[in-house]
Symmetry: C2
Subunit: 196 residues, 2 copies
């Protein structure tokens, strides 16, 4: 069965790929608005893990609406949630049996409710899987240590493709570094360099 996994090059979506690989023909798919070349980092990470890789084009209007929401809110949560739901909808239109993402039990954003999951499945005739949603932060960290080579650092320096880079670019275009800083607090990101 063919499965498309929303892929950022980070540890969560990489671990999700290893979980699903036992059951599906997994393709790692990075959703992009075409605003940056960050998807190239995800492609390099996918190749380091030995999975097929593809990109999917998102609707630029969704990025603009998300940035508008984030600037009004003063935090990224609702904008990122909107983009992730749009990405899953786009992935579900591919010719696959299942779509998946790397959301974890302890994630605050994005989160996919059971109602959204069932609606996505019914409307598109696919299964939606979030294989890490039954894994807490500690378990994910331990499994990542055992299975992946990971680099971490401040989120503006680690190459990754999780919407955030593109939404930062659009914020920067609209309001400079100040607009970015008002929405995104400094935090750590991870980037996968290969299997252990």
């Amino acid at each position: 069965m063919d499965l498309a996994l929303c892929y950022s090059g980070g540890k969560d979506s990489s671990l999700a790929a290893l979980v699903l690989d036992r059951f599906y023909d997994v393709t790692l798919v990075t959703a992009t608005f075409g605003l940056t070349d960050d998807h190239e980092h995800a492609q390099a990470a996918a190749e380091s893990l030995g999975f097929p890789f593809d990109t999917i084009e998102l609707d630029r209007v969704v990025a603009e609406e998300a940035v508008e929401t984030m600037r009004a809110d003063g935090f990224p949560r609702n904008g990122i949630q909107r983009v992730h739901e749009h990405a899953l909808e786009s992935m579900a239109e591919r010719d696959v049996d299942a779509v998946a993402d790397g959301t974890r039990r302890d994630d605050r954003v994005p989160t996919i409710s059971r109602a959204f999951a069932q609606s996505l499945e019914d409307r598109h005739g696919v299964d939606y899987l979030s294989p890490l949603s039954g894994f807490g932060r500690g378990a994910v960290d331990r499994l990542v240590d055992e299975t992946l080579e990971v680099e971490s650092g401040p989120s503006e320096e680690v190459p990754k493709a999780d919407y955030e880079g593109e939404l930062r670019a659009l914020l920067r275009e609209q309001g400079g570094e100040a607009a970015v800083g008002e929405v995104f607090p400094a935090h750590e990101q991870t980037y996968v360099r290969g299997r252990r």
Copy 2:
């Protein structure tokens, strides 16, 4: 890393074992009040899958309280939830790195909240995993079809060890078949006969 998986011999906990096997040294553990020999069916299923098997003894008082709750409610949900939480607490006291169960996204009972999961992890110094909680009913059914040999039938006829058999036995002891029928509506169960 050693993991103890709450095991009934049914398709959900069997599929959970296959998901976790990629990352952990999995032992299938059936929790029993010692009221029936149903754990022997779980042991046979575990052997057919090639996993180590063990049992864990539950507190008989919990079974009596659960049956009292179920008779007062007229449905099994709260009683089964209570027993499952007690089983996870007991499993978490074993010398393991992680405990797990086969609860799915679309299950109504038992369900383990994020708060209960984190509390269990903090108090016992283990990870708690519910690897199917990001899998809907359709995905589970399709993966089971691909990976397991399964028998299904009315729940009173299919040999299994998911607390229900023992709680039915205790109900029958107290109030005969009528007491069982008042709490448990007729439904289908599954039992695993091996790998495909």
